[in-house]
Symmetry: C2
Subunit: 353 residues, 2 copies
């Protein structure tokens, strides 16, 4: 419980590409909101700048050891996007830093809210964040040149804790409905286990309704304007959560608008769900990167450490400021506003609500 904690250390990880630009803006907004407690030393920001693709490539690890050690000294982490090496890139084929951090810090619950009031959309996704198709995603086997094998791993405990988190939230928030999304008609062993576990857990929540759908038809249901508002809280194995949350975010304005909380028993990390857009930085346009997603992530961080009122103020200010694209229209500039100007706009709005 953070409310009784004397000091809260917020680690700030810039990451790659546009990451350092937008993360700095989110940090400015947090410092503004938490100014009093920063002064007393209750809130401490700790910049962790070693999580770059260059460093990771040099040591051949998704997270360099000293970065991991630093991360573990923080209570919560605000993280910019990191570059995942792809074939053809100048980097060795190391694992995604996101995936590694979720595993190393055991951040089992990836919580992604998507809300579009005018479309009657109010969804909260609970994505399992440490296993499934991601468990050993970078350790498949090339049996020979002709045959490649990957593994999906689902454990009882891993399923239980994410499903319980979703049901707890459904109960406490009064949403009272959980939709379980799998492909248990085909991926019978692992997804079957996930679905069976959900059915068993549902019995302990008499006030929460549960239904279940397969991931294929679920992607269609989110498009269906007449029926999609029936969904409230969704819980999904890792890969389906990855897929469905990107689609869902699009209705809100794109992955650039959605924040993501990665929560474990001991640590929690908050991030933008978009990529690091290295080309923007190469072309010298890093300062124009849209900081909306990471500022929303910062809002989720505030709730997590017990500053609910500040989080609400921020949410209201963001609603007033609207999407970054709208700000571009407001300023009427062809090149767009900078991320700094957008953050200034948010802070001005916070000062004069």
């Amino acid at each position: 419980d953070f409310t009784t904690k004397e000091q809260i250390i917020i680690g700030v990880v810039g990451g790659d590409g546009i990451g350092p630009f937008i993360t700095a803006e989110a940090q400015r907004v947090l410092e503004f909101l938490l100014a009093d407690d920063v002064k007393t030393g209750r809130i401490v920001f700790k910049i962790i700048d070693g999580l770059t693709i260059e460093n990771r490539a040099a040591c051949g690890k998704a997270i360099p050891d000293e970065v991991l050690a630093e991360l573990k000294t923080c209570d919560v982490i605000l993280k910019g996007p990191t570059t995942t090496p792809r074939e053809g890139d100048p980097w060795p084929n190391i694992e995604s830093a996101n995936v590694a951090m979720r595993r190393e810090l055991d951040l089992f619950a990836n919580v992604r809210p998507v809300s579009v009031p005018e479309k009657n959309i109010d969804w909260t996704f609970y994505r399992e964040n440490t296993e499934g198709a991601y468990a050993v995603g970078s350790k498949g086997i090339h049996v020979n040149d002709d045959l490649a094998i990957d593994f999906t791993v689902t454990t009882q405990e891993g399923s239980e804790r994410i499903i319980k988190a979703a049901f707890d939230f459904a109960e406490k928030s009064g949403k009272n409905k959980v939709t379980v999304v799998t492909k248990a008609n085909v991926i019978k062993t692992t997804d079957g286990k996930f679905l069976d576990t959900a059915k068993a857990i549902a019995k302990n929540y008499p006030t929460v309704e549960m239904d279940d759908w397969y991931i294929d038809i679920m992607t269609a249901k989110l498009v269906d304007e007449k029926r999609r508002s029936q969904f409230k809280v969704m819980v999904l194995p890792n890969l389906y959560g990855d897929i469905l949350t990107d689609e869902a975010a699009e209705f809100q304005g794109g992955v650039g608008t959605a924040g993501s909380a990665n929560i474990g028993k001991q640590y929690a990390m908050f991030e933008a769900i978009h990529g690091s857009a290295p080309r923007m930085v190469e072309e010298g346009r890093g300062q124009y990167a849209d900081p909306c997603s990471i500022i929303r992530a910062a809002g989720m961080l505030l709730v997590h450490i017990g500053y609910n009122e500040k989080a609400e103020q921020l949410q209201k200010a963001l609603d007033i400021c609207g999407l970054y694209e709208k700000k571009l229209v407001l300023t009427g500039r062809e090149t767009g506003a900078t991320g700094s100007e957008y953050a200034d706009y948010v802070m001005e709005t916070l000062s004069n609500p």
Copy 2:
């Protein structure tokens, strides 16, 4: 090549639930269109009615042996939906008949077109249909009560043949663009193989442009009204193809409107992409089931066996008749038109174009 064949045997598999109702309507439409060649005996319909969930449960096999033998005597198959047993059903937990048939008849290419002219959508999906997460989907391992494992299997040949099919189509149709969809940033071994294979094959098609996206962001891109018309031909491993085609079909009017071709070297099977809706039949409403999807599948069957002109006539008639839902509006009936009435309407339109 079917054009030189003396006789073509079309197997008609009713399947479960609403399957026999809608399949019979599609057969009527085919018989109407092919009447001359049915008379001469060039076209022969062969009813295969043993692929029911009851029979499959009785022998504990996804496809009873005698049904499989019958299927193998046909040149092409028109198939209604089959029920995939789920937990809580009265049936043992046998594999999906669809998945088994695709594997047993080696129907490696699942081709799913989605076209919505007024939305500028004209997509053709090439879904790998025999391997990936589906290869041994029903043969994962419960290591113990706590740990379940599933496997994804991707072969060189399996990847090559579907990717080539997509590029061949892109070239011949003049669409000249193929988008490869994987999650190779995380599922590195199998999806990495698929993506690498695509990059190698692309070199042999100098007039066809290739790009690639990850499945998560791809589900968002299909929603984006401004940019989605950039996609033409997409090629995907099995599971992503399953997911993305359901989403795509929704823009056309739902999975109930989309047909699907399952094509191999020796056999080919054409089916509706929706389910068997057993509840409709239990409630005595089987005759109201929408036959659009399977009639579209029948249209794809016509192209496959070389009756391109007939297929075009059918497509035009379907465009005129519109979706089944619209027919309900036309007839002004609350209970809706029956599937038979819709098929009659299609045939009347064919007679008076």
